[in-house]
Structure formats: structure tokens, C-alpha cells
């Protein structure tokens, strides 16, 4: 059964230096509060897994938490580059970042294999691409019936999978709806899992389309607006201004460091950071 606790306690309990973490959420329900808490607790040498490392991983990478990134699309959606990610890859700042790069279909296949207890997954993909030259863990498998060759990729089995969802009930059963991405797979492929939720309710909303039973989750923590600047369907919309504003904050190393200091190290939790964001709205726009 999931332990219902604070985010700070959940991260302190499950996340260790050097682990492989997957924070998932496909544009929707990105667990940004959890990423902040990982930075706040000073975790280092992490291998970060995520299909779309956007602002949340830009912060973790810029803050020096990550040694390696496993991903398929690293940009600021609708805005442009992730400057901290680029600074790490192009100029080894704040230090070298190893990358392992796949396609979305490949990453999704890897999560499904991990969630299914299979050592690998297969797909029609990668053929003819330069990914084959630079990503060593893409192989092939031959269909024993037709002789066709298919791409093979190893299962992802992160140490900790972290997602955000709309609701949990008092037993820790988690429900989410709207765009569901690979969140279910990320939780089920991981050895431990943390789910932050908007609220705990007596009964899950009737719109819930994905339910993760309490007993497949390690910890549940309530963090209202915990997905901001991403969104939580039915709760709040995507803060597009924040994503646009992030471009200038993150372009400059000093302004990034100042932002991390002010918004993470000098705050005690995500609620305090959100109050700052609400106050600074003009600055970010």
C-alpha cells in the first residue's frame, strides 16, 4: 500500500544519489514540484529518464543534479531550446552530461517492456537513422515466423518513477484523466514510485480513465498545483507565459542560478515557490 506522506519525506525516503529516475508527464501533469524537491535536497549523479525533458529537466540539469540523460525530445514546447540542456551538451556546463538518445516510439516501447516484465521491446523503427550510430543500445530481433527484422530496445526499469496526477483516494489509489502519456508505464516499470496529487478525495472523479492501485505505488504526496507550469486537466491550465518566460531566465547562467536559488533553495516548498511565481508574473511575461 502507498504511504501517504509529504513530498519532502517521499523524496528523502526514495531518491538517492546516483539513481536512475524517470519523471514522466507528456506536456500534461508534469511532476515539477517533485523535481524542485530533488534539487532542494541536493541529489547528484542522477541518470534522468524522460521522453520530453522540458523545463523540469532543464532545471535539474542546470542545477547539476544529472550525470546522464535518456530521452527522445529535449525542447521547450512551443518556445524553442532548453538552454541549460544545450549548455550541458554543447559546453559541458555545469559539467559533462552523457546522453542516450532514442525516438518517442523507442522510449515508449522501452517503458512498456519495463512495465511488462520483459527484458526488451521491439518496434518498426530506427531503420536508416544515425541514432543507430550514436545510441549503442539499439539492436535487432528477427521474427521467427516471417524472417522480418525489427528494432529491439532494452526495457527501462528506473529506480524511482515519479508522476503527478489529479487525485488519490484515502487508501492511496491514484486516478488521472486527460492526456495520459506514459505515466502509468513509468510507475509500473520502476522499482519504487512517487505520485504527487492535486488532492485527496473520498471517491475518485468519474472522469478518471487510469487508476493506479495503491499497492503499486510507494508514496503519495498532496501538492496542489504540483504540475505547474504544466497543467492538471480539470484543475488548472498550462501556464504558457511561464514557458515563454523560462527562455530568458535560462539563457543566462547567472540568471538561472539566481532563479534556482530564489525559487528553490530559499523556499521551503512548492507552495512558496508558486507564491513567488504569482507575484513575479510581470517579470516572467
Amino acid at each position: 500500500m502507498a504511504n501517504i506522506t509529504t513530498l519532502s519525506d517521499a523524496i528523502a525516503t526514495h531518491v538517492r544519489d546516483g539513481q536512475t529516475l524517470a519523471l514522466e508527464g507528456f506536456t500534461h501533469l508534469i511532476p515539477n514540484a517533485a523535481a524542485h524537491e530533488i534539487i532542494r535536497q541536493g541529489r547528484k549523479h542522477l541518470t534522468l529518464v524522460r521522453m520530453t525533458p522540458d523545463v523540469t529537466y532543464d532545471q535539474l540539469i542546470g542545477a547539476g543534479c544529472a550525470d546522464k540523460l535518456i530521452f527522445s525530445w529535449g525542447g521547450n514546447p512551443g518556445v524553442g531550446s532548453l538552454h541549460r540542456f544545450r549548455d550541458a551538451v554543447e559546453r559541458d556546463y555545469p559539467h559533462h552530461l552523457e546522453i542516450e538518445e532514442h525516438s518517442h516510439a523507442g522510449m515508449a516501447t522501452r517503458y512498456v517492456a519495463g512495465a511488462s516484465g520483459l527484458p526488451f521491446g521491439m518496434l518498426r523503427g530506427y531503420v536508416g537513422t544515425d541514432l543507430l550510430k550514436y545510441t549503442p543500445n539499439i539492436s535487432t530481433v528477427t521474427c521467427p515466423f516471417t524472417g522480418e527484422e525489427l528494432a529491439a530496445v532494452p526495457a527501462l526499469t528506473p529506480d524511482v518513477g515519479i508522476i503527478h496526477a489529479q487525485q488519490a483516494d484515502r487508501h492511496g489509489n491514484v486516478g488521472l484523466w486527460g492526456i495520459q502519456g506514459v505515466q502509468k508505464e513509468a510507475v509500473m516499470a520502476s522499482k519504487a514510485s512517487i505520485v504527487t496529487v492535486e488532492e485527496i478525495v473520498d471517491e475518485l472523479d468519474s472522469r478518471v480513465t487510469v487508476t493506479l492501485p495503491s499497492w503499486v505505488i510507494s508514496s503519495v504526496a498532496v501538492v496542489p498545483r504540483g504540475a505547474h507550469p504544466s497543467y492538471a486537466h480539470g484543475y488548472y491550465e498550462r501556464d504558457n507565459d511561464f514557458y515563454i518566460g523560462w527562455d530568458s531566465i535560462s539563457k543566462d547562467r547567472d540568471s538561472f542560478d539566481a532563479w534556482i536559488d530564489r525559487h528553490i533553495h530559499q523556499t521551503s516548498d512548492y507552495a512558496e515557490h508558486l507564491r513567488l511565481v504569482d507575484q513575479e508574473e510581470g517579470v516572467l511575461a
Partner: protein, 259 residues
């Protein structure tokens, strides 16, 4: 009498608008289209509001039959889910829908393109020490492989239209001829590239992209100067029909969220 003059001025398409309008015209009604974010998404939604109301737009976030009223900023905006016929998981969209061959057209952008429509969206320069690190593959390699055909749209200049892409992210017509088919790809690959200058179409035999149309006011020299390879020109280069008032009004209303 100033008002009509201003209105007339407004109804001249910018280069980007022309590109989106021409791209929209390529989509037939009823097409099932896997849409990349940005200009492809805007063009596809314009088509839906013009001649193709039954076009089915699929986004890699798992939204099938999305009908957004304004262009989504991200591939997973809430409005896509709210207006979709179905919302499925990301693994499912790439397996049951894309890989299974259910997509007629994959509609993509690119950072770099070669004459066979091979795409780079990964790095400019060397992979290990890139000059510019781009976002990477995303859904494109498998869209390029499995969709029935591929429509590409991007601004034409010789940093983007290159002799050889720095990184082959998504295979187009490979090395031309039947090289793509020999790789076992199921879709027939890129058939058209819509740019801000004109339209390029793949030669059915060689797979090489050939300039077949110019937008009003653009010249063959403009196209050649903006292309990093020796651009082939069709024997009959058409002039694109100008943007109609309705196209432009709907495009602008769409972008303003007023459709």
C-alpha cells in the same frame, strides 16, 4: 474611406502565412493526419476549417480526432484532449495507430533537409560536440517510416536545405531510387515539401525533390539561392494560386483563437 484600405493591406499574406495556406491545401478531406506541433499543426487545422472538415488530426500526445479552436502551443494542450474523439496512451498511439499503418499522412517540420527529403532534427555540427543541439527525434523517425506518405514544411534557406544533413534523424527517400523500399519501410516517404518560396515534389523515379511551384512574387533564382544543393526545376513550374480572403481570414482567426 480609410477602413477598406487597411483591410486590403491586412489581406496580403506574409511568407509564413502563404506557406501554411499552401500546406493546408495539400490535405484532402477525410485524411488521417499525424500532425507535428507548430506550423504543420496550424496548417492542418486551417485545412479542417476550409475544405477538409472531416480530416482526422492525430497528435503524438495520444489525441485522436482533435479539433482545437486555436493552434496548440504544446503537443499536449488540454484543448486537444477536450475536443478529441479518443485519447489514448503514448505507447498506444505509436503502436496501434502509427505502426499499424493507420495514418495516411505524417505532417512534419525539420531543421535540415537534403534533396531526398531526409531530415535532421538532432544536431547542427558534430554529434559529440555540436554547434547547436536541437531537440532531437521525438516521434519523427517512426512517423517518417510508417505513415502512408510524408508532407514536410519549413522555411527555405541554405542552412536548412543542405547537400548532406549533419545527422539523419528521420529517413526520407533515403539515397533515392528504391533505396527506401529496400530498407523495408512501409510508408512511401516524403512526397511534398512546402516552403515559403514554393513547392517541391518528389520525382517518382529518383525520389529527388524538384521545384514544381512558386508562390506569387518568388522566382526560380530565389529558390535556387535558398537551396544548398543544385536544385532541379520542373519543366512546368506553376505559380501558386494566391491566398484567398477566406483562407487568410480563417488563418488569422485561427491563430487568434477566434474561430
Amino acid at each position: 474611406m480609410t477602413a477598406p484600405v487597411i483591410a486590403a493591406e491586412e489581406l496580403v499574406a506574409t511568407d509564413d502565412e502563404m506557406m501554411m495556406i499552401v500546406a493546408a491545401r495539400e490535405l484532402r478531406n477525410g485524411v488521417v493526419c499525424f500532425v507535428g506541433i507548430g506550423m504543420p499543426s496550424t496548417a492542418a487545422n486551417l485545412a479542417r476549417h476550409m475544405h477538409a472538415p472531416d480530416a482526422v488530426l492525430i497528435y503524438e500526445s495520444g489525441t485522436i480526432g482533435a479539433k482545437p479552436t486555436k493552434p496548440p502551443l504544446s503537443i499536449g494542450d488540454g484543448e486537444l484532449a477536450d475536443t478529441a474523439d479518443a485519447v489514448v496512451s503514448v505507447p498506444e498511439i505509436f503502436t496501434y495507430w502509427l505502426q499499424a499503418g493507420r495514418i495516411d499522412v505524417g505532417f512534419l517540420g525539420a531543421a535540415q533537409l537534403d534533396k531526398y527529403g531526409n531530415i535532421n532534427s538532432t544536431v547542427v555540427g558534430d554529434y559529440d560536440h555540436p554547434k547547436v543541439r536541437l531537440p532531437g527525434a521525438g516521434g519523427a523517425p517512426e512517423i517518417a517510416g510508417s505513415a502512408g506518405e510524408i508532407f514536410l514544411m519549413l522555411r527555405q534557406n541554405n542552412r536548412a536545405f543542405v547537400e548532406k544533413v549533419d545527422f539523419l534523424t528521420s529517413v526520407g527517400n533515403a539515397e533515392g531510387g528504391d533505396s527506401r523500399q529496400r530498407m523495408g519501410m512501409r510508408g512511401k516517404g516524403p512526397s511534398v515539401v512546402i516552403t515559403d518560396i514554393g513547392v517541391l515534389r518528389a520525382d517518382p523515379a529518383s525520389g529527388e525533390f524538384v521545384l514544381t511551384a512558386l508562390h506569387e512574387g518568388k522566382t526560380i533564382d530565389d529558390a535556387k539561392a535558398a537551396t544548398g544543393w543544385d536544385l532541379r526545376i520542373s519543366d512546368h513550374v506553376e505559380i501558386t494560386a494566391p491566398a484567398t480572403d477566406e483562407e487568410l481570414r480563417k488563418l488569422r482567426a485561427l491563430k487568434a483563437g477566434e474561430l
